[in-house]
Assembly symmetry: C2
Homo-oligomer: 363 residues x 2
């Protein structure tokens, strides 16, 4: 009961809602590949269980899992979490999964092309064939129709306010390893058609050393329409300083689709988080997969949190900035319960809580 | 959202409804193993598409499919059919799939042990680990709780009238390759607990040369409570004659859970259907999988049909008995549309339309 629709969401009156709008539930994928997740992904699996458990206080969670990990995932996850078989190359539901669009009465899926964050030009692994079918499989389980969008795009590279504004980064969307045949205008036209967007906010860069080529969801997000949070550092010697400063200036200078100036909140990043010797040794070395070298700085940011019905699930790093970040977000989200979840093991795989979740909005 | 319940359906007020009661939908599994299905399962896949298409006139169909066949199945099946990933060892949803039980308001799943029709004592292939998880995966997709029943049982080895009567065969349920540690009484007690059964009808044998060890669903079924259909032959030299005759006498001699005598309708079988040289050559030879030898007689029977909402999907064999069988069943099922579907390619795999389907009743 899932048809491919040969129109566009805009023509059909569908739009992508903001993450802060009501959800029908959350989708995730179970981590397992030993060339990305240390120690056979066992520590990461525990971290994913903690995230799924935290979200399931607020809304229904479905975990997609390969056949070989089905029994283990079913055993490790609480009964509230639905476990369905979905083969995958890795566990980033935000990026390979569906983008849901809604009208007043129903939901549909936008199914983007996926090339593992850069394909053969710096992509993070090969192949990515299973990831590229994940969105369609989600649509099938939910009996939701889908649009095939002719654009390489990961869900983490965009944020929307649900009122016509989309925020992204040039570092990612204009990267030659995504859509080399399309210029900025052509990409905007496709996003306008498939997400019902009227105004684009282009940041230049994402978080320092972010292997996704600067996904916006690690550096800046909408708290609600007209209000954004930006990762920040007061340390002028940190390479992140200049990036955040530039984004702050861009955000100050523009208006959104409704003509509003943005209210910008800075969330100070954790101290630099480096891969340890032991962590690096736990990862299988495989040609063609991004290695995890000891001493490498990871792109740690509190902005990579996830909004769910009545909740906000925020990564923590056992860092002095954890508590101020949680307090600042709680102050910005008084209608939600802010829940911190230790996320170092997720970060070690190259992303964070927002990257491993995907909301299914309520129509 | 799928819990294992540590009680039994009988204690909780759940029962297995008759197949003729209203369905929420139908589950199937996509054929692919080349050591059972000839020519890489391509002819069988077309036959399964025809069955799924026929059923989907009447109710929702979900096809489970391995990751490697997902794209092909999605392409071959009509859009009305939902396609979800479910790894499997072969495609007999009736036998490895869930048995649904209902009360007035909800449905649950009974998850039996599965050993590929006999385990290491004459089972049809090895391993069967993926099949054994199919029932649980269906329960997960549907967000339905499940009972784990401590009994090796295939869905095709039982038929119920929904009013407390269960019909089965000694050849299968008492076979030493199923539950060697349990006697008839112990098996009855478990079926009573898990399906809410009060009366057992024990036939001795199933169809001649049936590789399932005589599944009842190929030889006799309930049309409705109090009414059964039995495969038949008028040819006294056919080894099937004696089997059908004996079952007829058993059925005449007993009463059901409500104390009714049964109304018995004979449906004449097709002429003997033999595997051809060409068909045999199309099957991969693999140690441990039942070979498909040229000249072998297949267990062809019209009784292996499937009842769905307002319909009956009946196998046909390009045989002179097709038309009389369809007419007889239509007369027995005046409230349904009887649809014949050519089923030789399914029969070549060792079963028929009932074996590849599983009803999900409406609670």
């Amino acid at each position: 009961m899932s048809y491919r629709i040969q129109s566009t969401p805009r023509k059909d009156g569908f739009r992508m809602p903001g993450e802060f709008e009501p959800h029908a539930g959350t989708w995730m994928l179970w981590p397992e590949r030993p060339d990305n997740w240390r120690n056979g992904a066992k520590p990461a699996q525990k971290a994913f269980v903690a995230v799924a458990t935290a979200i399931s206080q607020f809304e229904a969670v479905t975990m997609g899992v390969s056949q070989s990990q089905f029994n283990n995932a079913r055993q490790m996850l609480p009964g509230e979490v639905r476990v369905v078989e979905i083969a995958n190359n890795d566990s980033w539901m935000r990026d390979c999964g569906p983008t849901f669009v809604v009208n007043g009465t129903s939901a549909r899926v936008v199914d983007w092309d996926f090339n593992a964050w850069g394909g053969l030009l710096g992509g993070l692994y090969f192949p990515w064939d299973l990831d590229d079918v994940v969105a369609r499989k989600v649509a099938e389980v939910e009996r939701v129709d889908s649009y095939k969008a002719p654009l390489v795009l990961e869900g983490g590279s965009i944020h929307v306010d649900g009122e016509g504004t989309l925020m992204t980064t040039r570092e990612c969307l204009l990267n030659e390893n995504r859509n080399p045949d399309k210029n900025q205008k052509e990409i905007e036209d496709l996003l306008a058609d498939y997400l019902n967007i009227k105004k684009f906010i282009w940041l230049n860069h994402g978080v320092y050393n972010d292997e996704t080529n600067g996904h916006v969801d690690n550096i800046c997000c909408f708290i609600r329409p007209g209000v954004v949070a930006l990762t920040w550092t007061d340390d002028k010697s940190d390479p992140q300083y200049e990036i955040s400063q530039e984004n702050y200036e861009i955000l100050q200078s523009i208006t959104d689709a409704r003509g509003r100036k943005l209210e910008i909140h800075k969330i100070h990043q954790p101290n630099p988080v480096l891969i340890t010797e032991e962590e690096s040794r736990g990862v299988d070395a495989v040609d063609g997969t991004l290695p995890r070298e000891a001493g490498d700085r990871m792109a740690a940011s509190y902005i990579n949190f996830y909004l769910c019905n009545g909740g906000a699930i925020v990564p923590t790093f056992d860092d002095e900035h954890d508590k101020p970040a949680l307090q600042a977000l709680q102050a910005l989200l008084p209608e939600r319960k802010v829940v911190g979840v230790p996320a170092r093991e997720i970060l070690l795989g190259g992303g964070n809580i927002h990257c491993i979740t995907q909301q299914q909005p309520k129509p």
